[in-house]
Symmetry: C2
Subunit: 279 residues, 2 copies
């Protein structure tokens, strides 16, 4: 732990694995002066099929670990953990806590003057109705179509999204959405921004694609400025920390490729989560 | 004053005149459950040519008047007043205070992955460098081009923006911006969203147009939700209040046309601002 963290406070970001790195990338871009401490629970990933009790317990365990560092804000960069644990975590800590669902919902409302909004996500996210609930809480009169796209994560993970057959897979996955005259489509899974150009071609330019990662970073910026706790110094040199419960070399490989910079990764053994920090 | 305001708290919105109604319209759309109390200082409009001391004094006078009502948040929906008085007002009141400049700046950063941002506004706004300062505070490496467009407000006010010559006026006004390969353009004047289609045609579809009114309403939504003070009830029936220091019948005519609903307008005599509310 460096003096910088103590003086400034860092932004804590947690995810079930590497997906939340899309949020990290956007925080680096939209808040380039801030320091990030990330925890990816790669060992227990994915959270989607787990019970709410498990997701809640895992999330709180990670929050307690990250809280050993001086944090000024916390981002739950995982759709499943946001849907299950956001309110609980907000009650447990005194710093601002952001999830990835509300920022996406708010951006979709902003983009949709006739109120016609689509949501795609994993089966778990769509089944939870988390986006639909967030949208209807803002305005019960919105027209919301939610649709699970289980074929898209494997497509991203396969690394074959440039392939000729990829467009066909995306076309099939999105077909049920095309008749709804949508104005915006929430990419309700951290993988989807990686194939946003394919999704955009299929939906057409009149449908605004909403990236939860972009929107969450933007709202983090709003909240830090509103509270007057943004870092106003000159330094742009990052000194970020990344923790994983899985194999650090794999995490490091993915993180460095995606963030386009060297990163420091430390493995945290889960039974020790409640003990002293590894840093 | 009704029981509803006491129980829920309203959103106070102030402007030098009617321009801030673009923010009101977006608050009605993006936060349809919230109540609004608006003050348009039509009698002393425009604020642009006034000294900072005057703008500061006027703004605080209005804030004190609005504070006689139970407010939960305050929006300074005027570029000039935001640039001059935002920080002072934040120190004076205990509720969240939003200006129109930071939301536009943040949205532009989000939209501009290569960091190439344009700003148009009145001469006063551009001379204040308020957007440029807000942008550079986020990231000193951004490429920012600011350009005053004095011809555009008269174009809007003339009501002849559908005219054949209108496109020519817009073309001339924006010409200096076209060579900068901008990714986004901040419409830094509350009038400009009314001719955004003309501006969009001129700049091309690759330049994202940023409406401060849309973005400010979106950030208000973020702040209310983050603090847990959004209204979660079912009612969508608005019972908003509008105050003007000028002639109420003119204000009412403009407000009802723009907001597409009947509004209640009350005139407030300026020397009485510090006295009891007119409502």
């Amino acid at each position: 732990m460096t003096d910088q963290y103590i003086m400034r406070g860092a932004v804590g970001i947690l995810d079930s694995g590497v997906g939340g790195l899309t949020v990290v990338k956007e925080v680096f871009r939209q808040l380039p002066k801030e320091k990030v401490i990330y925890f990816g629970d790669t060992l227990r990933c994915p959270y989607g099929p787990r019970t709410p009790e498990e997701v809640n317990a895992f999330t709180k365990e990670i929050v307690r670990y990250l809280s050993l560092y001086p944090l000024k804000a916390l981002v739950i960069a995982c759709n499943t953990a946001t849907a299950v644990a956001l309110e609980d975590v907000r009650r447990e800590v005194s710093i601002p806590v952001l999830g990835v669902i509300e920022p996406g919902a708010r951006a979709a409302v902003k983009e949709s003057h006739q109120g016609r909004i689509g949501v795609i996500g994993t089966q778990g996210t769509i089944r939870s109705s988390a986006y639909e609930k967030a949208l209807k809480q803002i305005d019960p009169d919105l027209y919301v179509v939610s649709h699970p796209c289980p074929a898209l994560v494997p497509l991203v993970e396969s690394g074959e999204s440039d392939d000729g057959s990829a467009r066909q897979i995306v076309k099939q996955a999105l077909a049920p959405l095309k008749e709804h005259r949508l104005e915006s489509l929430i990419l309700g899974c951290t993988h989807y921004p990686l194939i946003s150009s394919l999704i955009g071609k299929e939906m057409g330019s009149e449908v605004a694609l909403i990236s939860s990662a972009e929107e969450t970073a933007r709202e983090l910026s709003t909240v830090l400025h509103q509270k007057g706790i943004q870092y106003d110094g000159i330094s742009k040199q990052g000194e970020h920390l990344f923790f994983t419960s899985g194999r650090p070399e794999i995490f490091q490989f993915i993180a460095e490729r995606w963030l386009e910079q060297p990163v420091t990764v430390k493995q945290v053994a889960l039974p020790e989560l409640k003990e002293i920090p590894a840093g």
